[in-house]
Symmetry: C2
Subunit: 473 residues, 2 copies
């Protein structure tokens, strides 16, 4: 837990990341290649995401459900683009109960096909619509290289799946889901990014289009932070999901799916962490205030307990570190690495003065607050820190988004600066392939149309769509 | 949703069960053999279990975590009894990412081996103990015959796993876990049962002993409702989990594991359901009061909304059924099948009198309550129903537990009566095998020693341990 174990974030970013994830007790490697263990401190961050998102999902009328992990291969093959996209990443069960299976089963990489198999059965009439379900579950997508949270063979996520009578309603749901995600990123994870549609070659396998939240990491690389898909009638035609409408006509449903995963926690670590460790946004932090006694004298311990009680009474997640086998310095360091928003260091001086000396993990400000004012001042301070963290991220995002108008300029900018590049572009898969091969950058998303026009940065032809490009995780 | 679709519970118990689970929208079959889909209404019951248990788990200092789904076969094979117990039930992944794997991976049937692989790494010193983690996850155990909730190839559960410096502390944890489970069954699911140790042949594969909660179903069969294991040092020796104690000695840890699954929901349905459908204990019910308008006139709808608002204000989960494509009778029937504890049927008569006519699903009592008294009377009534349901179950359990003293009497009682049989018995695997072969009954658990003595019902030899026997699910 010693600070010196943590490499510099700017100089050795990937060593810093891997070391921090383990030092802060967030996660560890599992025994099978590419797998990850979410330790309690890391899992608590995921529980914070669930607590934020679940009420919004339920409020929308989407019910939590659970579908089987194992998908018959024949089901997965029903939507051609979909299976083509996922086949290379599948884990396949060939034996069960001591026997070779007649039909192989895929460990779900996502649940479109298995859920829609039931949707086809459950949906008969317009009265059965909309059908809206969400799952909090685990999915497996085989990965050769592992990066804890960001790229693992198995990850946790929620996947929402809805079926509607009209395309309009489906699009409204797709947008609602992305709004919910953007809210979660901004209000809870204190992260910012661009929201927009993916290009033809980057959209989800089986979708008509995909909305994405694209965050900019300190390395200058983009993180595709979550996605929300308009599936059109692709799956409903492939799997025969149809309903009798109010005019007695048989119609195919319009569908959406949308997912938010533990990958987001990788983004959180990258976005906010520093050379001293993790920095957690207060709303997300399992412990918001840690109280560390300088030494374990009884009056100090009693006073620490009064602090914790006062804070808990004000709804603050406060804890007292009363381990007696660690030194004061070690403890302070430990909680710094764990990114706890406020640390109170309490000695006889504080006891006698009736004050609490607090230091903020983000920004480093130190304040003395009287015991009596804790219940009002600390919640306000925590909220201010939460906002300041988001403000910093938003500024970083905009400062590192550069406009370029030609491919040469694009390549030069990629070399000189880190960050996002904004261009006019006519979405063209062949051009995108060439750009990716030559620069490792790809389109991240299409910005909202602002009525301006320019020239396609690759072809020089007129273009009115602005796109964000970047290298990505 | 029509009542007439539901077979009689007593005459066609298995048809009743399967039909009800689907009619009440709790669950459905998945496409792969033995798998189940938990629909939102069924999943909400599982969320109620989580909401009850999670605070108790955290209060104990056990952190929620997540370990990988896929377990290398070599790990699973480390504890001999364990792998022997689970091998016949494994689903095995042989291919990943388009290639045949060097080492096959088992889809977790339980997580002892994969968790303890990390425990061995994380535990070095007595300061690292106790190490206590819990997972809410999915497990796969191959099943040939499916019974929704009760016997499925995949199910959801929580599995707690702790490591301790002393055997005493491990036993205390094992008992704490079973207390938590019994509390959950009694206080939330309104179910009762016997708690005790499993016999040598019925205990968990790899455990020194197993505590079980054995509930009695209306069919007269036992349901092993959840278990908590004293793993002794079996896994810690097999996987090398050791620590340096305070005297500088290297020691193996003492371990426990304990699990509570969606099987419990099968028990809930069986225990409380009747010929008209599900009967949910109020604390468990996603909707506690359903308000059904006789017709959709505006004054009635407004009044219904006032009822819902008053109840919600009092913390009651109340909903208004405002579908306009279903008849009043259909709706009443639908909510009866879904087991909603109280149904309010509201027409102009109620609006004019300022009263609410409510009918209890359990017991069938009808009451008229004035709108003004709803907020106090309904929560009290719901609590009384919750208690009455448990009282009924406890009475049923004791009424159907019969003492016998010889094997002949045992066999006769099995034929004449349904229920539990209490005997003196000296736990003997060979005798148990013979009893099972001849009667299909097995030992369920050992009751707490009450100081009495008697004779072993099989051998006639002196015995001072009392056991419960029954046929089981």
């Amino acid at each position: 837990m010693a600070k010196k174990l943590l490499p510099s974030k700017s100089e050795q970013p990937s060593e810093w990341y891997t070391t921090l994830v383990q030092l802060a007790d967030l996660a560890d490697y599992g025994p099978a290649k590419g797998t990850m263990i979410l330790k309690p401190y890391g899992y608590a961050l995921w529980e914070a995401v669930q607590a934020k998102m679940n009420p919004m999902i339920k409020e929308r009328g989407v019910g939590n459900a659970y579908f089987p992990l194992l998908i018959p291969m024949s089901l997965l093959e029903k939507e051609a683009e979909h299976v083509e996209g996922f086949a290379p990443e599948l884990a396949v069960v060939t034996h069960g109960g001591g026997e070779e299976l007649e039909e192989k089963l895929a460990v779900r990489p996502t649940s479109e096909t298995i859920m829609y198999h039931s949707y086809a059965k459950w949906i008969q009439s317009y009265r059965d619509l909309p059908l809206q379900m969400n799952q909090w579950n685990n999915v497996v997508r085989w990965e050769k290289r592992t990066m804890l949270f960001l790229r693992t063979s198995e990850f946790l996520w929620q996947e929402g799946h809805t079926a509607h009578a009209t395309h309009e309603e489906a699009v409204d749901t797709q947008e609602w889901a992305m709004d919910m995600y953007a809210k979660t990123y901004r209000e809870l994870l204190a992260m910012d990014g661009y929201v927009g549609y993916k290009s033809n070659s980057e959209r989800f396998a089986g979708a008509d289009n995909t909305l994405s939240f694209e965050a900019l990491m300190p390395s200058g690389k983009a993180l595709q932070a979550c996605t929300s898909h308009d599936l059109g009638q692709n799956f409903s035609k492939a799997q025969g999901i149809s309903f009798l409408d109010q005019n007695g006509q048989q119609q195919n449903v319009w569908q959406t799916s949308w997912g938010f995963s533990t990958r987001s926690l990788g983004g959180l670590i990258l976005a906010h962490g520093d050379d001293n460790g993790l920095v957690l946004p207060p709303r997300m932090a399992p412990t918001q205030v840690i109280v560390v006694p300088v030494r374990g004298e009884q009056p100090v311990m009693d006073y620490c307990q009064r602090i914790v009680d006062a804070l808990k009474g004000a709804g603050v997640r406060a804890d007292l570190d009363h381990r007696d086998d660690e030194s004061f310095g070690y403890k302070v360091n430990k909680w710094e690495v764990k990114g706890v928003p406020l640390a109170a260091k309490i000695g006889m001086k504080e006891v006698e003065a009736g004050v609490v000396t607090l230091k903020a993990r983000f920004g480093g400000e130190e304040r003395q607050i009287s015991l009596d004012s804790l219940a009002t001042d600390v919640p306000e301070w925590l909220e201010a820190l939460q906002e300041a963290m988001l403000t910093g991220q938003t500024a970083y995002l905009h400062e590192n988004t550069r406009n370029v108008s030609s491919y040469d300029e694009f390549k030069a900018t990629l070399k000189e600066h880190k960050g996002f590049i904004e261009v006019y572009w006519n979405d063209d898969p062949e051009a995108e392939k060439r750009i990716k091969d030559e620069t490792k950058a790809s389109s991240r998303c299409r910005l909202e149309n602002d009525g301006t026009t320019g020239v396609d940065f690759v072809t020089g032809e007129p273009a009115n769509e602005r796109w964000i490009f970047a290298q990505s995780y």
